[in-house]
Symmetry: C2
Subunit: 255 residues, 2 copies
């Protein structure tokens, strides 16, 4: 299988790079092929703007949806975006590795999503509006996994921890960005207390990471409800037959 590793940390001695290197070694040992997107080394352009469209369709007013659609369908995207999309299309799994900054991805990785997740591909698939998304789409059949390094302790990210439950904080990425495109998303891998982690704890974390990598294609994904599976019969709102009276992000997960 082919696995695309995307990571966002400039320091090669960081835990993020450690996880990327371990993933490469460990997955290659299992016979897989690794593709890299080391965003800082690539000097990835984070900001989506008008220079992303080499053949503007409309000059009067910049609409990202229109220009992204036009650029994608006419092969006039910039070379850097095309290259990343090609890697994604080839990959059987995508692993995003990053330090948690303000409860989300570093800007450089958010900008990788903003620019690579084009209209006609990641959204507006088949130019059919929102017909194919959340469990269906261009990336159906691929797996996705977040690996996150977190300075704080696990208790603060537990179901009643002050920061919010980690999986709820990641929902805009796991559900709204990855599952959106059809990918199966695995539970988030996290290393807590990551700042100045000592050798014994690093070894434990590395073993946990290897186990997750070993099961990359076997593990049960998060059971997000599919848009077109019958759970959202009207205006994409959860059916009254399911968890009536309940709300919160977890209603979108089965079981």
């Amino acid at each position: 299988m082919k696995i695309l590793l995307v990571y966002a940390q400039p320091e090669s001695k960081s835990l993020t790079h450690h996880l990327a290197r371990e993933a490469e070694i460990y997955l290659q040992k299992q016979g897989h092929t690794i593709i890299h997107s080391d965003l800082y080394s690539m000097e990835w352009k984070a900001v989506m703007d008008e220079t992303d469209y080499m053949d503007r369709q409309f000059h009067e007013r910049l609409s990202f949806i229109q220009e992204s659609s036009h650029a994608y369908s006419t092969n006039t995207q910039t070379a850097d975006v095309e290259r990343e999309q090609k890697k994604l299309k080839e990959a059987d799994a995508l692993i995003l590795i990053f330090p948690l900054w303000w409860y989300g991805m570093p800007a450089i990785m958010k900008g990788w999503i903003d620019r690579v997740w084009a209209y006609g591909l990641a959204y507006g698939y088949k130019n059919a509006g929102n017909s194919y998304r959340y469990g269906d789409g261009a990336f159906l059949g691929k797996r996705a996994l977040l690996a996150v390094n977190i300075g704080g302790p696990e208790s603060e990210y537990s179901p009643r921890g002050i920061n919010g439950n980690l999986e709820d904080l990641m929902f805009p990425i796991t559900h709204g960005t990855l599952f959106y495109t059809g990918m199966e998303v695995l539970p988030t891998f996290a290393i807590y207390n990551s700042v100045g982690i000592d050798k014994p704890d690093l070894e434990i974390a590395t073993s946990r990471w290897q186990l997750r990598l070993e099961n990359l294609f076997k593990e049960q994904p998060i059971l997000f409800r599919k848009q077109n599976g019958g759970d959202y019969p009207d205006r994409h709102v959860l059916s009254d037959d399911i968890l009536l009276g309940k709300s919160g992000l977890s209603v979108h997960i089965k079981g």
Copy 2:
């Protein structure tokens, strides 16, 4: 009062710029002073990296926490970051205006947070670790408001809508980024169906926006629980006395 408007859209004809202009006109009429951070016009550097630290404390390995702390405390931050922090310190309210991209901020705005929210100021306040946060901190007494333009319909962001409830999706920003620093955060202002919005709908949205601006300093903020208010007595986990057995992001809001 002084109000800092931070917005992230390159197109001056966009709804984002419309909201920024309306805010300026309307708030000035009420006697307030407006400070702007038009991130695209400013060509804001989105990516936090080693060039942000003009006088590195440690050269062996880049630690953002250490270097941010050192740069903030020794006044060796870059001029662009210092300028934004000065604006923030002067402001009585912060309004972030942006189009919703992949259920979050555009990368350029995430990068504004990543770089401006320095150690010693937005986190690690008074160099006291995590002592002052979530309802306390350097920005105590300031108000904050998100104004978000959303392509999709409101139903999809309702409490049981497929995308997730809007306020839950914004939690990493409202709670984890703004309330974290001590700010009082108002409920998110959203314009749905924003793509190609017609004139009558734009007028309705503009009136709604003016009403929110009028009440900027009067409106009830989201009642996030304070870290040091007694609700998190042990390891920053919500007390068993509160909503026992419940979880999800909403447990961190009173009432």
